[in-house]
């Protein structure tokens, strides 16, 4: 089996539309969460919800990157995907080395072109409006994978995975397995999402899981998640191909685990999350003792953070209270199908810098969780424990965990 490494990074996020900006804000703890801007299609631009904050991308201008035709045919999430994929592919110089037919594109996106869909449906229901002829291609969840293939001229297997908040982690895991097995020699993989629209805000408001203040994972006074948008996309390939041309190697992907809770459509289970973590470590052939950092799903809801902490205890036993844990969602929000990729990026940068990002916004860590939440400032990594895991635990009980190893 091939060893698989990450040789290109790309992102469009609330804390930066380049990896350099993301890195700077990640370690500085600068949040991308701010007051919700005017919402198209909402009366007076006001979504009319109980919360006021979201993690929005303000510095992305598609006309700086894309032709007018592609802009007309794509929703914002797809535009993020094309640009982030370009960043990753260019950094890795992937297409100069790999046959386009041997490169896979595996994307995570759960919400598709939600804002375009809402806009069209509003026109239909309120004034019997005609639909824009590009509505279908704007709204299909697979549009990101398609547009990346068109943009980069990649002809290998390409698909979208939609598993709610675990979409991107499932995508990265599948891409990893494809390259490891030899089904593809390289892959463009990650996630993208831009769901911040009137109906989306309202639907999440009705679930009563969005923070009326601001997301602060693992804090004793946490009161919910904060919605976000963005994309993170990676170029991955065999270690052999990366080394053959001296490509930059940011980290090695060593394991992928997944599970289904099979219990409840909204309440997460400890067993499901623990199983996915165990499987990722087994797939990596790594022992729990090698894990020096957990990038938690850490949504900031009561249910997630307590269940995830209990799962960490189940997997790591006596070491559980001593493994550094953080959730970076207090910086970039919860971008649903993209969140696993954005958090994988944070994890990769942490491994590379040997510096673990803190959980911003925590007032008092919830002592009842009994996990070692990094607060205040980033913490130096324990260099004797080179493995990190990144958890994604979706509504509907679909869990995905990837294991990464520092490459040296």
């Amino acid at each position: 089996m091939n060893r698989v490494v990450i040789t290109g990074l790309g992102c469009i996020s609330p804390i930066g539309s380049s990896v350099a900006a993301f890195r700077e804000n990640l370690f500085a703890g600068n949040t991308g969460i701010s007051t919700i801007a005017d919402v198209p299609d909402a009366p007076d631009g006001n979504p009319g919800v109980r919360y006021t904050q979201a993690a929005q991308v303000f510095d992305f201008d598609p006309s700086q990157h894309l032709t007018s035709g592609v802009i007309a045919a794509s929703n914002r999430n797809t535009q993020f995907a094309i640009v982030a994929a370009r960043q990753a592919a260019q950094q890795a110089d992937l297409l100069k080395y790999h046959n386009p037919g041997d490169i896979a594109i595996i994307m995570g996106c759960a919400c598709g072109g939600r804002s375009s869909e809402e806009h069209e449906v509003k026109g239909l229901y309120t004034r019997d409006a005609r639909a824009h002829p590009l509505t279908i291609v704007r709204t299909m969840s697979s549009a990101g994978a398609s547009q990346i293939s068109i943009d980069l001229k990649i002809t290998g297997p390409a698909l979208d995975i939609s598993t709610a908040c675990a979409s991107a982690t499932h995508a990265i895991g599948l891409a990893f397995h494809m390259v490891r097995s030899g089904m593809a020699t390289a892959a463009i993989t990650g996630g993208h999402e831009a769901p911040l629209s009137f109906g989306f805000y309202r639907a999440w408001d009705s679930m009563r899981v969005v923070s009326p203040t601001r997301c602060r994972p693992f804090s004793a006074d946490r009161d919910g998640m904060t919605l976000g948008e963005g994309a993170a996309i990676f170029a991955i390939e065999t270690l052999e191909s990366a080394q053959a041309r001296n490509a930059p190697i940011f980290a090695e992907i060593v394991g992928f685990g997944m599970s289904a809770d099979a219990s409840h459509i909204t309440n997460p289970s400890v067993e499901g999350a623990a199983t996915a973590m165990r499987k990722a470590l087994a797939d990596a052939n790594a022992s729990p003792d090698e894990v020096g950092y957990i990038n938690a799903h850490g949504t900031g809801t009561q249910a997630n953070d307590s269940t995830e902490s209990a799962a960490i205890h189940q997997v790591f036993g006596a070491r559980a209270p001593h493994i550094p844990v953080s959730s970076t969602k207090a910086l970039h929000g919860h971008s649903i199908g993209a969140s696993g990729a954005i958090e994988a990026l944070a994890t990769i940068l942490a491994l590379q810098a040997q510096r673990l990002p803190h959980t911003a916004g925590v007032t008092t860590p919830d002592a009842s969780l009994n996990v070692d939440v990094i607060t205040g400032t980033p913490r130096p990594a324990d260099t004797t424990r080179p493995v990190a895991i990144s958890n994604s635990l979706a509504f509907g009980g679909l869990n995905a965990v990837i294991a990464l190893r520092r490459f040296s």
Partner: protein
């Protein structure tokens, strides 16, 4: 230039993200780098603006801005009168 021509040029300029004063009736789609997706988008915006339906067969024959303006003029002139419903 009449109102129909002005509005058509504004729609094309907005779609291509370029100043309207760089477009005139003789400007070709080729000069504007209008691809098939642009053409679909611009046709829809024109239909919306003038409340018309561009026939499928007409879409393929559009080569320059003047073609669009002339086509819109014809379709607007041939629009059936609105029937009062009260």
């Amino acid at each position: 230039m009449d109102d129909i021509a002005t509005r058509c040029i504004e729609i094309i300029a907005k779609s291509k993200n370029i100043p309207a004063d760089t477009i005139n009736l003789d400007t070709t789609f080729e000069q504007l780098n209008i691809d098939s997706l642009d053409k679909i988008n611009i046709s829809f915006e024109v239909e919306e603006a003038f409340d018309i339906n561009i026939p499928d067969e007409a879409l393929g024959s559009l080569k320059n801005v003047g073609d669009v303006v002339n086509g819109v003029r014809q379709l607007v002139a041939n629009k059936p009168p609105k029937v009062a419903t009260s």
